[in-house]
Symmetry: C2
Subunit: 167 residues, 2 copies
């Protein structure tokens, strides 16, 4: 019997049709599939401007993205779950934090997470604080990292779901 | 007396505090300022999937972005105005078209508009259809163009506002 962790279950129960059809058509092109689970937990911003921030987080993988809700303040808390089904371990997850304005949104910082650095884990743990940086580093048309510390930090819990139902 | 075109006026009347304070602090770092006016008018998508699309357009310039509302169908119409106040003519405006999903949004295509290709014009004209392409072309960490035709097209009206009130 296939079992899902609590994190995965949230998405599957909420959007059963989408988690099957959309993810399969958009991201999966081979039979080697991994489920990447990412919980965007919270952030802490430096500087007195932080009290006026109204921020959201965008996760990007290839040509697909998803976004958290927008939360006010210098220590916003999202605790929002995301699932990516992927077939290429050489990709990376680009995490962007934006401050929402009335017309313009401004990027507060970026974090790039190579999928090769993500471990398999059955359960969600407390996550890891990552630094947000000001600029993207590119190579050959793809993001490979970030540079320029901003002082802002983001708590992420990112893991691959181990295969279930296999003997 | 300083006069604004109708397009500009829309933004200034709606958000008078933001158009001054935010744009000045975020984008303007020298005294040579140009007002870039961009109207995202409409799009036409190819393929039978287009009837199910629910799309929005994002405009990006450096670390600032703005987004249209989301419109359904294969020929969405936005007619939405944007104003950027800039000081570096060597930048480019990155236009992204996204198909909105329940969890995941998927990029339908990109168009890169170098600011050196934008003309000064007092009045909005009918705009110009531009092709959307599948991938970004990068050089030295910055977007310099796009590649890979998608067949989708976007009608943009982009111009620099001529200086007013000068003799």
């Amino acid at each position: 019997m296939v079992q899902y962790s609590t994190t995965t279950l949230v998405l599957y129960l909420s959007f059963p049709y989408l988690s099957v059809s959309f993810l399969n058509t958009q991201l999966v092109t081979s039979d080697i599939r991994r489920r990447l689970l990412d919980v965007v937990k919270k952030a802490r911003y430096v500087g007195i401007q932080g009290t006026q921030f109204n921020t959201y987080v965008t996760l990007k993988l290839q040509n697909v993205k998803s976004t958290t809700v927008t939360v006010k303040g210098p220590t916003p808390c999202w605790e929002q779950d995301f699932l990516f089904e992927i077939n290429d371990i050489n990709l990376g997850l680009l995490v962007e934090v934006w401050n929402k304005g009335v017309i313009w949104d401004r990027a507060l910082g970026y974090h790039y997470l190579p999928l090769t650095s993500v471990a398999y884990d059955e359960q969600e743990c407390g996550g890891r604080w990552v630094e947000l940086e000001a600029q993207l580093m590119m190579r050959g048309g793809a993001v490979v990292g970030t540079t320029g510390p901003t002082g802002h930090a983001l708590l992420l819990d990112c893991r691959f779901e181990p295969p279930f139902g296999e003997s």
